[in-house]
């Protein structure tokens, strides 16, 4: 069913294939760079005015401590890494605990959509891994059978799960967000575009699976072609699938979806930041540094150009 | 800030009717203020409270604690509320020409 010969296509087809390969490379590099930049940005945030000791309160009903210094003297209880913190964090990661207890219908669609999303990623990883294997085998006579390889069952299973969950979850979320005023009012068009991309990708994936490419071998071959920098022709439908898939990747950094990572910093470096300012500690050093920064606030009670340290001692 | 006429003279008052120029305060001003505070006509007890507040303010630049006012004048809180429906802080202090109480009071 598949052409192993890359040269039997029309010029237009070839241009399309090359475009898809470039788009794929771009999408992966883009998301990698964009997300790395965000991680670096959040990991390097300056020390902040700790606004609270949220650590005990977010996770436990009955914490008890004696105030700051005595609290700090109990490293086991005061550590931001203590088990109860980590556990309450994981609960949100693994089954979206807050959503579940707040609104079951919304949770249901959200969870299904995420299952779809995660399995789509694993599905891609499996396809790419298979392709890489084929490519590294230095076998010039690539055939459809080879490419289908041993992971084919897993591949198909993942594809079915991700497409089905993607369609149900995203349609559900879309309808839910449109039908509830307080959600609709706050949902930007981009979010709806995202739902549409996901739904289309999954729909086309399904059609591919049912008609054109039941084993998704063409998709694997596409990656093989990418690795050997010699495009292997893809069908129009598969091309569209790849295109939408990559569009979705490029779309992601423009959404708040990266909260999966930034929230780690928000909890452990901000809300649960219990690091005390002890003599000679890195915290004390960091405070010294930021207190030496110059402020340019311009209200009458502030002298612009003073450092924080000077401003704090200036009381006219 | 708005200007208003109290006791025949022009005095600056804040949004809530407290006079902003304490040095202009006199008996007539107080009586006019008491009309706004439904504390008119002012009897002996009214003046006892107002004078106590006034004296304390001149000495310490602040209103006395309410408990102190009650103890020193011998007039209990309930009666103060009857005399000055706005209460000791918002009613009596206003008539006595004190600035509005500030802070967590």
């Amino acid at each position: 069913m598949f052409e192993a010969n890359t040269f039997s296509k029309s010029d237009l087809g070839l241009t399309m294939d090359i475009f898809l390969i470039l788009l794929t490379c771009f999408a992966y590099i883009f998301i990698l760079v964009a997300y790395s930049a965000k991680i670096v940005k959040y990991a390097r945030m300056p020390i902040h005015l700790r606004w609270e000791l949220f650590t005990a309160t977010k996770t436990e009903k009955k914490p008890y401590h004696h105030g700051l210094t005595a609290f700090e003297a109990q490293p086991f209880q005061s550590s931001r890494w203590r088990l109860s913190n980590v556990w309450s964090f994981l609960k949100e990661y693994l089954w979206f605990h807050s959503y579940l207890s707040h609104d079951k219908t919304y949770w249901c669609f959200l969870y299904i959509a995420h299952i779809g999303f995660v399995s789509l990623i694993i599905f891609q990883a499996v396809c790419i891994a298979t392709a890489l294997g084929t490519f590294l085998a230095h076998d010039q006579t690539i055939t459809a059978e080879r490419a289908t390889g041993s992971l084919v069952a897993l591949r198909i299973l993942l594809a079915i799960i991700s497409f089905a969950a993607g369609i149900i979850g995203n349609i559900g979320l879309m309808v839910y967000r449109i039908s509830h005023r307080d959600l609709r009012l706050y949902t930007p068009p981009l979010t709806f575009i995202g739902y549409c991309i996901s739904i289309c990708t999954c729909l086309i994936g399904f059609i591919l699976l049912l008609t054109n490419d039941p084993h998704f071998s063409g998709y694997v071959l596409f990656f093989v072609g990418m690795f050997q920098i010699k495009p292997i022709a893809v069908s129009g439908l598969l091309g569209l699938f790849i295109f939408l898939n990559m569009l979705h990747l490029i779309y992601l950094p423009f959404t708040p979806g990266f909260h999966y990572v930034t929230r780690f910093f928000a909890f452990f470096n901000v809300l649960w930041d219990t690091r005390p300012n002890q003599k000679g500690s890195p915290v004390e050093k960091a405070i010294g540094q930021v207190m030496g920064k110059k402020i340019t606030w311009s209200a009458p009670h502030i002298k612009s150009g003073q450092t924080w340290e000077q401003a704090a001692k200036h009381r006219s | 800030m708005a200007k208003t006429t109290l006791g025949g003279i022009e005095i600056e008052v804040d949004e809530d009717g407290f006079i902003q120029e304490p040095e202009k305060w006199n008996k007539e001003v107080a009586e006019d203020l008491s009309k706004l505070e439904q504390a008119f006509p002012m009897g002996e007890d009214h003046w006892k409270i107002v004078n106590y507040l006034r004296d304390y303010y001149l000495k310490y630049e602040i209103a006395p604690p309410i408990r102190m006012l009650v103890k020193q004048t011998g007039i209990d809180l309930k009666t103060i509320y009857q005399l000055f429906p706005g209460g000791p802080a918002k009613g009596a202090c206003k008539v006595a020409g004190l600035p509005k109480p500030t802070g967590c009071v």
Partner: protein, 531 residues
């Protein structure tokens, strides 16, 4: 309404109607017993911006010329830009970025908000409303995104004087209770957004409620206390307290002032001296009886624990905290303990930890655990039957949700109050009293009505609910609020709804209850006539 309506000229975006407000339990289920908010005078409306909700908290004056109007907008934008600079805003840069960029608008946090719920879910009070408006302004005017991406990200907004002024007022319709933050699975802090808007107004535009700034931090740094108490007045008040104590307990106690090298410097909210001296007296009595080595300070700022900067201005915050720490250092005390004041707890104990270095970094703790150790450790003789009336406990957000001091006060009450009842929800899940973030001291125009009718309404509901079984005014009941601000707010709430006459509910602090239970007192320490 739509989000962008905040910049459209109109009389008032929302109107607070009595019938929309959160229903209250008996006896206030009868609408006649409810109280209506005062309307502003037309003169006030003319001079100040009041087109948000017909309430004035900040009192933003209308511009008198076009140039003034433009300067206002310009200043707002320059201040907003500074919020995103490390130099100017290292203090909250991280949570600010995270909160603006990563909220997914799932609205899980909505139900936590006392103002939003009690108002009958008015859109502008929704915890995510302010952040959404700010995000749009930032996208369009600070990040200067192009038109296409503004459309895609739904950043439709038109910046004008009206919007900025309304936003300034709106930043003072959130009590910074941070219950919404606790609810958010992503760690987004919507309260922080209110705080940052307040900072732009104060630190760049020089606009803040005068109770917080001029008469607040500025007066505190200059005169000594935001109440206006100067050292001379303090001396007089302490003398009064000593006499009062002698009268009440039949024994003279010397209140230690400026005692060098004492173990503890006790910081009280100076509002206690003015309005609730029985609380500071109670501390003196308990500490004396338990033999604690403590002192007050008579230095300016050293006798007022408050730090209003924590609500609106980082620089004022740093100034007050630094001054307080200097006083403790000069006295050579071992540590500072903060009395019954929630925001001072957080400001001095937690927040100042990122300001004070070197010899200013003196150990700082709450005074509640000391009381707990005295009561639970039987250091003084107590008889719980003296507190035999229904009592409930209000949890001040700052010390409970935001610091985790949950148990000391409960251990005390369980030991000395046989009829102690928990309201629902309580502990770290409590609702704000409605007077947080400076509201309790904002006394001008119709703002006090708003905080009783709207932001405090849910607290009143909780209080009435917990006492339903004994709601008749014949049974005296006590709401224990170990925080001056909460006490002020609860006092105003009870007055606004005439709760003493209707239901016999009184309020007060924690230390008073302990002294009230001391067996060697001849007459009760709690005097109910101060309602």
């Amino acid at each position: 309404m739509r989000i962008e309506d905040i910049s459209k000229k109109s009389d008032q975006i929302i109107k607070i109607r009595q019938s929309d407000l959160l229903p209250l339990p008996y006896p206030y289920n009868n609408p006649e017993k409810d109280t209506a908010m005062r309307e502003l005078s037309s003169d006030q409306r003319e001079r100040y911006e009041a087109s948000l909700d017909g309430v004035i908290g900040v009192g933003i004056q209308r511009p008198s010329s076009k140039a003034e109007e433009e300067l206002f907008i310009h200043k707002f934008l320059s201040g907003l830009a500074k919020l995103f600079e490390k130099e100017n805003n290292w203090t909250f840069l991280h949570p600010l970025y995270h909160s603006l960029e990563y909220c997914v608008k799932c609205q899980i946090c909505n139900d936590s908000c006392p103002a939003y719920i009690a108002s009958g879910r008015k859109e502008i009070y929704r915890p995510t409303y302010r952040p959404e408006v700010l995000r749009r302004i930032v996208d369009k005017y600070i990040k200067k995104k192009n038109r296409a991406s503004l459309k895609l990200t739904g950043s439709d907004i038109e910046l004008n004087w009206t919007l900025i002024a309304r936003l300034g007022e709106l930043a003072y319709r959130c009590t910074l209770c941070r219950k919404c933050t606790q609810a958010c699975p992503l760690g987004i802090d919507n309260g922080l957004i209110s705080h940052e808007i307040r900072k732009v107004f104060s630190q760049e535009m020089g606009i803040a409620p005068k109770e917080l700034h001029e008469q607040g931090t500025v007066q505190q740094l200059k005169v000594g206390s935001s109440t206006g108490i100067n050292p001379r007045a303090l001396e007089n008040i302490i003398e009064f307290m000593e006499n009062d104590i002698e009268e009440k307990i039949g024994r003279k106690i010397k209140i230690p002032v400026d005692k060098k090298g004492a173990e503890i410097l006790l910081l009280h909210n100076a509002g206690e001296f003015m309005s609730w001296p029985e609380n500071t007296e109670a501390f003196a009595i308990i500490f004396d009886a338990a033999g604690i080595d403590w002192t007050l300070s008579s230095e300016t700022v050293g006798y007022d624990a408050v730090n209003y900067g924590v609500w609106y201005d980082d620089i004022q915050l740093a100034r007050v905290a630094t001054r307080q720490a200097e006083i403790a250092r000069n006295l050579g005390v071992k540590k500072i303990n903060v009395g019954e004041c929630g925001h001072a707890h957080k400001a001095m104990i937690v927040v100042a930890d990122r300001v004070l270095t070197g010899d200013l970094n003196i150990p700082r703790e709450s005074a509640l655990p000391i009381l707990r150790d005295i009561v639970v450790g039987d250091k003084i003789k107590l008889d719980s039957s003296r507190n035999n009336f229904p009592i409930t406990l209000h949890d001040p957000c700052n010390m409970v949700r935001l610091m985790g001091i949950v148990e000391p006060q409960r251990e005390i009450l369980k030991k000395i109050c046989p009829q102690f009842l928990e309201m629902e929800p309580h502990g770290v899940d409590n609702y704000c009293c409605g007077g947080g973030s400076g509201f309790a001291i904002m006394q001008s125009m119709n703002f006090p009505d708003w905080r009783s009718a709207v932001s405090g309404r849910i607290k009143l509901k909780q209080i009435l609910e917990v006492f339903q079984d004994t709601i008749s005014p014949d049974v005296k009941k006590y709401v224990c609020a170990p925080c001056s601000n909460c006490k002020g707010q609860i006092r105003d709430l009870l007055n606004y709804y005439n709760v003493w006459d209707e239901c016999g509910i009184f309020y007060g602090g924690l230390a008073e209850l302990i002294v009230n239970a001391m067996i060697d007192l001849e007459k009760p320490f709690i005097e109910w006539e101060w309602h």
